[in-house]
């Protein structure tokens, strides 16, 4: 199974040294691949208190176990490091075609430490690693960088992961961009790459991947293919992309608008995937590696003041963060802002979030046009949004304040502005109003990287498809719990999705295949693992591996000092009722969250007082070594009390 797992490539940029090590088979069995293996590597390599933007912070790239094969929609790459935005654990992932190419070059994992003296890029091809001067690329945007590298090496089939000016200027929400338009966006992995003077990682391989049981693996792939195509949501996702659901989200009073002051717009149509098609902006439907859904978009603006704009997206999150959140319904401005973020290498969610926070500050008089070098940052001012995106990437004027993320920006501006800084753990909340989605609320609060949906997507709680309702019945015993306004059974729903999502990420599958569409079941994922490695694993055992991964990620934060107090939600979610849903329960009150957390920790076998995993829990999951280390640091709860 060595070629399908791929070796670990270690690169020390300070010493300009690279070496490879195979992955021990028992590590594959315990941590599966991708996200799980990355968690294991970060725990091992990132010592407590490591400076996120210092040379010691390891920047880990991990491909899914199935990445590089025909397994449908399994091409995702996970990036892991200590987050410069939050100081906590960071797992962020991207689609595109880079991961498969790394596998063909002979590697499943890339661990980058150190810092180069001057900008470099890595050129990895068929087992070779070259450190190449990137001084001429520093300052170039992501698209220019991608094209320049392909041109100078002379191979258009090279896959590139790169940072833009955002990462170079250490913007706390800078993205690593894969295959030009696929972002590992959240938590500032791009800034970590920038801090290492690493502009890009170019990969190309001619190797071949062989499953341990080829015929069975092929058969499982066909079963996954048929099952995924049969899901009632697949055709719609292919047709209209992620923003095809924006109107449904709006009707459910979940669409964050005007910096989460509103959760509904009268007319959100200009921000929907349907409108992108109808108005002719959508030019092509695009797929990530091996993906049979193809939800990615290629849009273009042909006429008017933004003519010449083209590229990947915009996605749902972007249309909300840079559109509705900023009180902006101008489709073309959002497409343009999306292009800017892609080229500059910024997370569209956080970028939109800091701008809408600044807009609210502006509307409330905490900042003025004088603070903004003349920019009138009122709701819906499209040109001002575009200018602000640019200033953030280059840290010009007030852009320098916003580039630190909304938590730090609110500390600098002061007053009551922390109340509308919609963040927790230092990460800006992703685009769902958790006041009207209680499983999301719990999942966001306990997410080790901060409040967003990409550790645990609990879309099933809305019950929007027969498959979603069937899953809720499987988890809770009753379809009536497919109701996002209920708090009952949310901990159970979150727990199932945590395990499932960790397995999904570790095998390289896209979350859309398992926790938004449901074609790829845990049972099928167990089959994928078994046929790929030749090591037979059951559905229960692979879900337990998911729990092991989730628990190890939690332990990383515990080692860095996290306690129960850190499992929280943004002030606005917890203290202001949603104005668009007349229901006293349209708020994430402290009491409501506390009750869900108590149950959630109990389900995990974590101590309710500290939120720390119990020694017995860790040992049951085969994490005895982790328990020993936490015990030595005094971070194991006392079990005699409970």
């Amino acid at each position: 199974m060595r070629d399908i797992v791929g070796d670990i490539l270690y690169v020390d940029l300070t010493q300009r040294r690279a070496w490879r090590e195979p992955v021990a088979p028992d590590r594959v069995i315990r941590f599966l691949g991708g996200r799980g293996m990355n968690a294991s590597l970060l725990w091992e390599l990132c010592k407590p208190g490591t400076e996120p933007l210092g040379p010691e912070n390891p920047l880990i790239f991990g491909t899914g176990l199935a990445t590089g094969t025909e397994m449908p929609s399994s091409g995702r790459t996970t990036v892991t490091c200590r987050s410069p935005a939050t100081g906590w654990y960071l797992k962020t992932s991207a689609g595109g075609h880079w991961g498969g190419e790394l596998k063909y070059a002979g590697y499943g994992y890339l661990v980058v430490t150190g810092k180069s003296e001057h900008p470099v890029y890595l050129w990895i091809h068929d087992g070779e690693v070259e450190f190449r001067d990137a001084r001429h690329l520093w300052g170039k945007d992501v698209r220019e960088t991608d094209l320049a590298i392909k041109r100078e090496i002379g191979d258009e089939d090279i896959q590139v992961a790169a940072i833009g000016p955002g990462g170079e200027h250490l913007v706390k929400f800078a993205a690593v961009m894969f295959s030009v338009y696929n972002a590992a966006a959240r938590g500032g992995a791009g800034a970590v790459m920038g801090s290492k003077n690493l502009k890009a990682i170019a990969v190309r391989g001619t190797g071949a991947l062989r499953a341990a049981q080829p015929a069975r693996y092929h058969q499982v792939a066909r079963a996954c293919y048929e099952s995924l195509l049969a899901d009632s949501g697949t055709a719609g996702l292919a047709e209209y992309g992620t923003s095809g659901s924006l109107n449904v989200v709006n009707e459910l009073r979940l669409l964050p608008s005007f910096n989460f002051q509103r959760s509904h717009l009268e007319d959100a149509y200009p921000l929907t995937g349907q409108y992108l098609v109808e108005a002719g902006y959508l030019k092509r439907r695009v797929a990530c590696f091996a993906c049979i859904i193809g939800c990615h978009r290629y849009t273009q603006i042909v006429r008017g003041m933004h003519a010449g704009t083209f590229g990947g997206g915009p996605e749902y999150e972007t249309l909300s963060a840079l559109g509705s959140g900023c009180g902006l319904l101008d489709t073309e401005v959002v497409i343009k802002a999306n292009e800017l973020c892609n080229l500059l290498g910024l997370d569209t969610i956080s970028c939109g979030s800091v701008i809408q926070w600044a807009m609210e500050c502006y509307e409330k008089g905490l900042i003025t046009a004088r603070d903004l070098d003349g920019l009138e940052l009122h709701w819906g001012n499209g040109p001002a949004v575009l200018e602000m995106v640019r200033r953030i990437a280059f840290r010009e004027g007030f852009g320098d304040v916003l580039a630190e993320g909304v938590k730090v920006a609110a500390e600098k501006v002061g007053g009551d502005s922390y109340q509308w800084a919609v963040q927790a753990k230092g990460l800006e909340q992703s685009r769902v109003d958790t006041r009207s989605a209680k499983a999301y609320a719990l999942a966001f609060a306990v997410n080790p990287r901060g409040p967003d949906h990409l550790h645990t997507e609990t879309f099933a709680e809305f019950g929007l498809s027969p498959e979603a309702r069937a899953l809720i019945r499987k988890i809770t015993g009753d379809e009536k719990y497919a109701n996002p306004y209920l708090t009952d059974k949310r901990p159970e729903i979150v727990r199932w999705h945590e395990d499932c999502y960790a397995v999904t990420d570790s095998l390289g599958f896209c979350a859309f295949t398992t926790t938004a569409l449901y074609g790829i079941t845990p049972e099928l994922m167990a089959q994928v693992f078994s046929a790929a490695t030749g090591y037979e694993i059951s559905e229960e055992a692979i879900m337990e591996a998911g729990r092991r991964i989730v628990t190890l990620e939690k332990c990383y934060n515990v080692r860095e000092g996290a306690t129960r107090q850190d499992d929280t939600l943004p002030w606005r979610m917890m203290n202001e009722r949603s104005p668009d849903r007349p229901d006293p329960n349209a708020i994430n009150s402290a009491e409501e969250l506390a009750a869900m957390l108590d149950r959630y920790y109990a389900l995990h076998g974590w101590d309710p007082k500290t939120s720390w995993p119990l020694r017995s829990t860790l040992e049951r999951l085969g994490l005895g070594d982790v328990a020993r280390e936490l015990g030595a640091l005094g971070k194991l709860p006392d079990e005699r009390e409970g």
Partner: protein, 164 residues
């Protein structure tokens, strides 16, 4: 005479997922490697543009004309072209002769590679979810193409429009 089926590529529908390449390499080699695929994707990544390229099944195949050993051709009694690997000397004349770039060298065996239509049941077509690849009789493909082209010209107007 049975209608001759051909591999039809509708590049407008291609999402660039590479399922065709992966399944092709599996069918022929039992492994996953785009470089071992007989159908290859040309990607223009910044424009998200993807075009599959495969053998055109020429009536006068230059690859067969230039082959000095007769390795490029059909096996006796079989209707589908193959590379007779035991005859191939790796001279690469076929690679240079193919005007489509559809013949490549096997990176490990050192012999020529080209599409053999999986001997009449092409695997790539079966996994092409967006429908960019079809395997159908030539005249059906031409008929569809002709019709689509005429519709694109805008000659088909609604009855209401036509009354005016």
């Amino acid at each position: 005479m049975a209608l001759q089926k051909v591999l039809v590529i509708d590049a407008d529908r291609c999402t660039g997922c590479r399922q065709c390449e992966l399944v092709c390499s599996y069918e022929h080699e039992g492994v996953y490697a785009p470089t071992l695929s007989r159908i290859r994707l040309v990607k223009f990544e910044d424009r998200c543009l993807n075009v599959p390229v495969v053998c055109g099944f020429c009536d006068k195949p230059p690859c067969e004309d230039v082959c000095p050993t007769g390795a490029m051709g059909q096996r006796a009694g079989q209707p589908y072209a193959v590379v007779r690997e035991e005859n191939c000397i790796g001279c690469k004349e076929c690679v240079h002769a193919c005007p489509l770039g559809a013949v490549a060298m096997h990176p490990r065996k050192g012999v020529a590679m080209r599409c053999d239509l999986c001997q009449g049941d092409p695997a790539c077509v079966k996994v092409c979810a967006p429908g960019a690849l079809r395997y159908e009789p030539l005249d059906a493909a031409v008929r569809q193409k002709r019709r689509a082209r005429v519709v694109a010209l805008g000659v088909l107007r609604s009855p209401e429009e036509e009354e005016c």
